[in-house]
């Protein structure tokens, strides 16, 4: 039984809402990372650039994982 049949729409709606909360939290973190990194970079401090890029990519991977699950729900 696939996820589409396993969950009625009301349940899928709950899952998507929860997913949206997580995605928004991660995006706020990424926005903060980007502004802090840009500030440091323009100030001549480049030490933080690589760790911040790695952290942002991890955030993107988490979001991509959630998106993958969203597509799995649709199948």
């Amino acid at each position: 039984m696939n996820d589409r049949n396993r969950f009625p729409r009301a349940q899928r709606m709950t899952i998507v809402n929860a997913m949206l909360v997580f995605v928004m939290l991660i995006i706020v973190l990424q926005l903060w990372l980007l502004t802090a990194t840009m500030n440091a970079y323009l100030g001549g401090d480049t030490e933080i650039v690589l760790p911040a890029a790695v952290a942002s990519l991890v955030c993107l991977a988490l979001n991509a994982g959630l998106l993958w699950y969203l597509y799995a729900l649709e199948r």
């Binding site: 729409r9 911040a52 890029a53 979001n63």
Partner: protein, 199 residues
């Protein structure tokens, strides 16, 4: 009577195959009468029923937010790429002026590297020179040296920079002036590189 007719009409338009088990929501029946899962993609993505429409819009918002996440990560990678390129950047050694060409306390505007923004060479003592980017780090106005006061002044918004280090003393600028490294050989002042200074 009217209510009964409505109920009959609703029942006629509601397919039992269209309802998921346990789903009490009523669905509009497509013209061909097949279940929603078997409908073309465009019909699934532009539903008539409110609950399905809310689900689709929320789902699409999640997708758009993940796209935004991709944009932020791309921005981070762009900053990383700029940092790596800057680290690998090499500067030519360029003669700027003869030592005697600039009086003590005097200054000279030059371009370094060629075709870049203006730089400012200031003679602060006998054989002491400093050079900075001439553009203020606030809003790019040209800075003016005040050697006797030991500072560089931006007249646009009254920004002040230390003449010896390029660091901000007062005013709206938050970042120091990028410095041009210099070398004096055989009475000639050479520019040898650029360095961004941490705040």
């Amino acid at each position: 009577m009217i209510a009964k007719d409505d109920q009959k009409r609703d029942d006629a338009h509601t397919s039992s195959a269209y309802r998921a088990p346990g789903d009490i929501e009523r669905h509009t029946v497509p013209p061909d009468g097949r279940p929603l899962d078997e409908q073309p993609r465009w019909r699934q993505d532009f539903p008539i029923d409110w609950p399905q429409d809310e689900y689709v819009s929320r789902r699409d918002l999640v997708k758009f937010m993940v796209l935004t996440s991709l944009a932020f990560a791309t921005g981070q990678l762009w900053i990383l790429a700029k940092t790596l390129i800057r680290r690998q950047e090499t500067f030519p050694m360029l003669p700027v002026a003869r030592v005697d060409d600039v009086a003590v306390g005097g200054h000279l505007v030059f371009q370094y590297p060629a075709e870049s923004g203006p730089r400012l060479l200031v003679r602060t003592g006998g054989a002491e020179f400093v050079a900075y980017d001439q553009q203020c780090t606030h809003l790019l106005c040209p800075v003016v040296p005040h050697v006797d006061e030991g500072m560089l002044h931006c007249p646009c918004h009254n920004g002040y920079f230390d003449l010896e280090s390029g660091r901000v003393i007062a005013g709206p600028p938050r970042r120091p002036l990028p410095r041009v490294t210099l070398e004096i050989r055989d009475g000639v002042v050479y520019a040898t590189g650029m360095e961004d200074q941490a705040t």
